[in-house]
């Protein structure tokens, strides 16, 4: 077992009033944009007004009810607020931005250990071997590396980029959650379908110049664009 620090990207909600119903509404609006995605998503509440008196136990519960998990509270908190927060066993987080602003004389606040997603969840997913017809490989919230061919009728999907060290004869879908900067790299291109952030091209639409060549596939002006991997 090793202990080390690591950075995570978390959803932060700015709380401007004492009304917990407004908070619940905001979270609900967010969650219905992508129902599955925000299920049990970690969330941080940021409080900039030291004068607010909030029922932290109620806040934690209403966040849970919206399907989120409260990992901590950050912001410009008064001593009284901090005490109340700690009493509910909620962590107080210091954002890195704040830290750099107030670096002089800042006293490190005691941060309770909180449960964060394992680091490995965001590590690039590597698949070794041929992906056969009917198989589907999905890299959630990360990049996907395929060390082998992707056969016709097979699907490789990633929320990030896709790298294929082999021939792509099946479907490749990068940026599956809408990341338009995602790319597909592959050593030999003969795909059934290429998609980035939901915009796709079928093999029929591909010009022959790129077929069976090593390629980079990217999105430019909402269009799938192919380029040769050895020409920058």
């Amino acid at each position: 077992m090793t202990l080390k620090s690591s950075n995570f990207t978390l959803l932060v909600v700015n709380l401007e009033s004492e009304s917990l119903t407004t908070l619940a509404e905001e979270l609900h609006k967010k969650s219905i944009t992508a129902p599955g995605f925000f299920q049990n998503a970690p969330v941080v509440v940021n409080i900039e007004n030291a004068a607010l008196t909030i029922d932290y136990a109620n806040m934690k519960q209403s966040i849970n009810e919206q399907g989120f998990i409260l990992v901590g509270i950050s912001g410009d908190l008064s001593g009284e607020q901090k005490e109340l927060i700690r009493a509910q066993h909620i962590a107080i987080l210091r954002s890195s931005l704040r830290q750099s602003n107030k670096i002089a004389g800042a006293i490190p606040a005691a941060v309770e250990p909180i449960e964060l997603p394992a680091v490995n969840e965001f590590k690039t997913k590597i698949h070794t071997g041929r992906v056969r017809s009917g198989q589907q490989i999905y890299a959630k919230e990360t990049d996907l590396v395929i060390h082998g061919d992707v056969g016709a009728g097979a699907e490789v999907i990633a929320d990030g980029n896709i790298h294929i060290y082999g021939k792509l004869s099946g479907k490749a879908l990068a940026g599956a959650k809408g990341d338009k900067s995602a790319c597909i790299f592959c050593q030999a291109l003969k795909p059934e379908l290429l998609s980035i952030a939901g915009i796709y091209k079928l093999s029929d639409d591909l010009t022959n110049d790129y077929v069976t060549k090593s390629c980079i596939v990217s999105l430019q002006n909402e269009q799938i664009v192919l380029g040769k991997l050895d020409q920058i």
Partner: protein
């Protein structure tokens, strides 16, 4: 150590049963006690190809359901001493196959000293085919040199690596062999048919054998004689090569190149 070998393909009509019969017979001829199990419940064919259809009393499903014991259901081949057939039921469907039932039968066969247990899979990727491949140690994926057959073989190979007992228990993966049947070098040369290289490119499976297209296969099936018994036929010889390779004996590929017959040899049949 007993080996369970599934003969499978995904697609129908590519020669699974013919190959099961030929390879099973070939293995039994080496003196190894061999059984061929017909997993095609409801579409029983293996008994016809093996010419033992008149001697079927009980079947695989009877054994699974405990209505007969294994010894009663096994049909001994009349030509080859160490060869047995376990026929499929014709009156039932594939849902009658259960994992527990199949496991029980395979374990009983192993305990009875069978060295090779050949599972003749039905077409498709449903219950019957899944049960046939589940307990396999090795697989012979049968493919015709055409695109749809190759794609189905790719699919079933993926299943072997994800849906078998070996994959679920994270043991060594099922060893997959490729058997190309109905190969016609002349048509390959005319680019009407996929070549061995094309198939290898698409599947990337180690090649066990290439069986040339031959009229002898159909007549052998109709006679109920496994084609491997006809060593005058190219197909019979090619199956023999495949059986040898399966046992680790090296054999050069035969019948894969087309040589145009000269005028004289056409006349004199040389």
């Amino acid at each position: 150590m007993a080996k369970v070998i599934v003969v499978t393909s995904g697609k129908g009509g590519v020669g699974k049963t013919t190959s099961s019969a030929a390879i099973g017979s070939g293995l039994a001829m080496t003196g190894a006690k061999t059984v061929i199990i017909d997993f095609d419940i409801g579409l029983r064919n293996l008994d016809l190809i093996m010419g033992c259809e008149r001697r079927v009393v009980y079947d695989f499903i009877n054994v699974i359901n405990g209505e007969a014991n294994l010894q009663q259901a096994l049909v001994k081949d009349k030509r080859i001493h160490d060869l047995y057939i376990l026929p499929a039921s014709q009156t039932r469907n594939k849902d009658a196959l259960t994992k527990e039932g199949v496991e029980k039968v395979i374990n009983t066969l192993k305990a009875d000293g069978f060295e090779y247990i050949i599972c003749d899979s039905p077409a498709g990727i449903e219950q019957g085919a899944m049960m046939a491949l589940y307990f396999a140690d090795e697989a012979i994926v049968t493919t015709n040199p055409e695109v749809s057959s190759v794609r189905d073989s790719d699919r079933i190979t993926g299943m072997l690596s994800s849906k078998s007992y070996r994959s679920e228990q994270q043991l060594d993966p099922v060893k997959v062999h490729l058997l190309v049947t109905r190969y016609c070098p002349e048509r390959v040369q005319r680019e009407e048919m996929l070549s061995i290289e094309d198939i290898n490119d698409l599947l990337g499976i180690e090649l066990l054998g290439v069986i040339p297209e031959s009229k002898d296969v159909l007549s052998a099936s109709n006679l109920g004689e496994p084609i491997i018994l006809n060593q005058d036929s190219d197909a019979g010889k090619a199956y023999q090569d495949a059986v040898d390779r399966l046992q680790g004996i090296e054999r050069d590929l035969r019948f894969v190149t087309y040589e145009k017959k000269s005028f004289l040899s056409r006349i004199f049949g040389g």
